[in-house]
């Protein structure tokens, strides 16, 4: 029920439309459900609509956490060897 993909907004069109891009693929989506979208923003795309913007600050926090976890896993690997 929930396939939504983050994509970058590369163009704004009237009325309330945008072109998003992901992995070289471009698609037009509706911005009816989101306010204040600018070119360069990342939005979540579901069924042809942007359903919200990605919170890039929060995304970065989670990405940092994952990198930290990956680092811990590396260390655990070394601990086992030694």
């Amino acid at each position: 029920m929930c396939l939504a993909i983050p994509a970058i907004v590369i163009e704004l069109d009237e009325p309330n439309l945008a072109v998003i891009e992901i992995g070289g693929v471009r698609k037009q989506v509706s911005l009816m459900l989101v306010d204040d979208v600018a070119v360069g923003d990342y939005v979540l795309v579901h069924a042809g609509f942007a359903i919200d913007k990605v919170d890039e600050g929060e995304a970065q926090k989670t990405m940092d956490l994952l990198q930290e976890l990956a680092r811990l896993e590396q260390e655990a690997g070394f601990d086992e060897i030694h």
Binding site: V34, L44, G48, F49
Partner: protein, 372 residues
């Protein structure tokens, strides 16, 4: 791909599994989103978790929960002369009482698969001589998109576009599940994209009224593992609501999307396939948009048949396992499914069937615990 690949970190996933193991805790957790079910199956996650940690699939995707009678109505509408029925691909093979949209289409009904309801509206604009009906299924992730399309239809003056609304709401379903006498689940993995729309505050009642731990979760393996870790920790620290998917979910949700949704829809009672009627758990099209409501059309429906013996409802509530159902593997197989658990290719019974088929009855190799 940005904001996807950075969350696919195998080393982080392995570390999370290690931390989960280190807790040495047990728990049964339910996800209520078909996309989570898919993600868990695809990642082969269940066999990797320590024994004692069970992941069970709740009533969570349109394939699983759309009632027989609703499929029958969609099929009947598609057979009406001059009608083009448009639908998400997910619904094509779901069996109704007698057949499915796919088989009706093979026999001449005009059925087209779309990725977006906006494509359906475009078809209506291109085919003014036809009535184009969109089959609206899905939770709060999708309902605003359908509502937005209906507003757009009105704005463009397209009068040959209608919608069949079988949309459902997640919080009332959770409330109904949690209220069941023998609901024996230790926490919920809550749907991330439904929550983008409705906000995490919508689930506050779970820890507060029912002491039920829950985590609003994203769809990557690392997201799901983080959720499981947090849920296990709540076993000791006490039930609460946490948001793992903070990059997409806010406490208040998306007010614009909610506003669009409520312009067009209002809550109603709804029948969930294999379960029962849950009050206030569906979305009906408001009176002002009655002209776009194909649900009011006169259609001939087949006599509903009760599949006596189908125990999907109990599987969806986590009470029993697929092999406890008398139909499993005999009357009910992926090619000839009876209930929702087998209809969805990633449903509990379908997943279990795949693994038991590949291992054989005497071998219990990896993956045999799927569907517990």
């Amino acid at each position: 791909m940005r904001y996807i690949d950075e969350f696919r970190v195998p080393a982080a996933a392995r570390e999370l599994l290690r931390e989960i193991d280190a807790l040495d805790a047990r728990g049964t957790f339910m996800e209520v989103c078909g996309t989570h079910t898919m993600a868990i199956s695809r990642a082969g996650l269940r066999p990797l978790l320590a024994p004692g940690i069970d992941l069970i699939s709740g009533p969570g995707c349109p394939v699983c929960v759309t009632a027989d009678a609703d499929i029958d109505r969609a099929i009947a509408v598609s057979k009406k002369p001059g009608v083009i029925l448009t639908t998400f691909g997910d619904m094509m093979k779901v069996p109704g009482t007698e057949d499915s949209l796919a088989s009706a289409s093979a026999r001449g009904a005009r059925v087209r698969v779309v990725y977006s309801p906006l494509e359906s509206l475009a078809i209506a604009a291109e085919e003014p001589g036809s009535q184009v009906v969109f089959l609206g299924v899905g939770f709060e992730t999708t309902a605003p998109a359908v509502a937005g399309t209906m507003l757009e239809a009105r704005r463009q003056g397209i009068d040959n576009f209608q919608v069949l609304s079988f949309h459902k709401l997640v919080p009332p379903a959770l409330r109904a599940l949690v209220g069941l006498d023998d609901f024996d689940v230790d926490g919920f993995i809550l749907p991330g994209h439904v929550s983008v729309i409705i906000g995490s505050d919508a689930y506050a009642f779970l820890p507060v009224e029912f002491s039920m731990p829950c985590v609003v979760t994203g769809f990557e393996v690392t997201d799901i593992l983080q959720a499981i870790l947090r849920l296990l920790k709540m076993g000791a620290s006490g039930a609460s609501l946490e948001v793992e998917y903070a990059r997409a979910v806010r406490p208040e949700g998306n007010p614009r999307a909610l506003e669009v949704m409520s312009q067009v829809f209002e809550p109603c009672d709804a029948q969930w396939r294999g379960l029962f009627t849950i009050p206030g758990s569906g979305l009906a099209i408001r009176e002002e948009f009655a002209a776009m409501d194909a649900g009011t059309w006169e259609v001939e429906l087949p006599e509903p048949t009760r599949s006596k013996g189908c125990r999907c409802g109990e599987i969806l509530c986590g009470r029993i396992k697929p092999m406890d159902c008398p139909f499993f593997g005999g009357r009910c197989t992926p090619d000839n499914p009876v209930g929702p658990c087998m209809v969805s290719s990633e449903g509990t019974c379908a997943s279990y069937y795949l693994y038991s088929e590949s291992e054989g009855p005497d071998e219990r190799g990896e993956g045999a615990d799927i569907g517990r």
